[in-house]
Symmetry: C2
Subunit: 275 residues, 2 copies
């Protein structure tokens, strides 16, 4: 029997997680919900994000999801417990898998974390990484999401903004914080993987980028106790169904979403959620 997996994000960023899931678990059925009418979550309060995330999660379970992936850093950081309490299916968020991947990679035992204002204010990554004895420096990067949404992925303005954020973290210029420097930069927002080429170019040698998408997909396959299909040469095309739901313009979701999913999005259903 094929597992029905619900994947939820405030918008299209979580499609980077779905893309990884399609590689590691191509045999599952997927329903993806982007709550675009109420995005962004990252600038809003914990109470509001929790209300939105719970109603979105319940929708996916009502649609038949037997497993929920919260593919949104802000919703995971602020509302994972409340989501788990509101549904009767297993729930996996992106924070723990991302933190575990960063901890496994860091030799200096220092990780820098970037994310939305709400994710950073929650200190969810600092708490998660401290369980592995990792020290963190956190930095909210509120302009990265609008820049990515504008399509300015590798643009002089985005480089300008990234240089400001990375230098405020002390990651650049190279050598400024040489002693005891972080050797991993954790991308704590599902929009940020699209900035990887730009960020990689700016970072000094010896600093690795980690995003939660691949780590979360691995965690899901482990929990489901199936063998990942993501072996070299053995990636198979998805064999399950793929459904997309959005709370605002389906056309905008299709257009913007394709670059996050890495493939065309065929059809998107417009739904409305209770406040």
């Amino acid at each position: 029997m094929k597992m029905k997996v619900g994947v939820f994000d405030s918008g299209v960023g979580g499609l980077t997680v779905l893309r990884e899931l399609l590689r590691t678990l191509p045999q599952a059925h997927y329903s993806y919900l982007g709550d675009t009418a109420r995005l962004p979550y990252g600038s809003k309060s914990s109470a509001t994000v929790t209300r939105y995330a719970v109603s979105s999660s319940k929708f996916l379970v009502e649609q038949g999801a037997e497993f929920l992936v919260i593919a949104c850093n802000t919703a995971t950081a602020l509302a994972l417990n409340e989501i788990e309490a509101s549904v009767n299916v297993p729930v996996v968020g992106v924070v723990t898998p991302g933190a575990e991947a960063a901890a496994a990679l860091s030799r200096s035992r220092r990780v820098d974390v970037i994310g939305t204002a709400a994710t950073i204010a929650s200190h969810a990554y600092t708490k998660a990484l401290s369980t592995w004895g990792i020290r963190t420096t956190e930095k909210a990067c509120p302009l990265f999401v609008p820049l990515v949404e504008e399509g300015w992925i590798d643009h002089p303005v985005t480089e300008h903004v990234a240089r400001i954020y990375l230098s405020e973290l002390g990651l650049i210029p190279h050598g400024q914080r040489e002693d005891n420097r972080a050797d991993v930069l954790l991308l704590g927002c599902t929009h940020y993987p699209l900035l990887e080429p730009l960020l990689s170019r700016l970072l000094p040698d010896g600093v690795s980028l980690v995003d939660s998408a691949a780590a979360t997909a691995q965690a899901v396959t482990q929990i489901m106790n199936v063998t990942p299909d993501d072996q070299a040469g053995s990636v198979r095309p998805p064999t399950g169904t793929l459904k997309f739901f959005t709370t605002d313009s389906p056309e905008k979701f299709r257009t913007l979403g394709a670059q996050f999913l890495g493939r065309a999005i065929p059809a998107v259903e417009l739904i409305s959620l209770p406040e």
Copy 2:
């Protein structure tokens, strides 16, 4: 008897309109609602913006407003008719007053308009200005709102972005579109007045900035048939009450809002609106 005026925006930008109203109509009672839990409106669809704007407007009328000011360009551009149909009080939006002020100022009969993606896509300003025989060029500037919200009002990154937008309009470098050039730049978003110092510095001589805030306040005083108090030397302090409502963090509203209102905001009440 003092008039009760409701002022509505998706967030804090409409406080620039309230600031002008407090100068021209200091004797009124004001209730201001910022629908911050669902902002921004400017990147969302017409149907979603209309639903949000109608529920927000109804709230203000339920609170006793006898007159509504839609201090949000996107809500005015996309939903003014629907708002008028949903309440039993007079409604004034920012588009017509702003367009009228720009038309009165333009000698070249050409006006350039900047705003959110949704406002520009609606062509509301082009339609309004065409009734005065004015030709327009429109340009969506989606990064201006997040830059202002970040507090990067007069910042190298904001200047970088503004140079790109203004050069795409052909307004800079000076002389590029000398023939038949627009001599007015209409700021079609209530966040943009905070960028006036920066934009003024970049624009060539002979191009004036117009924002809807002052023009809207004048229109309201005209409709109410009262004499504006905004005479030189005769500005009086507000004598009515001033209430603020928000759908997300009151603390964030107070902090961010003060720079739009130009004065401290004492208390903000958190409310929830029907979806």
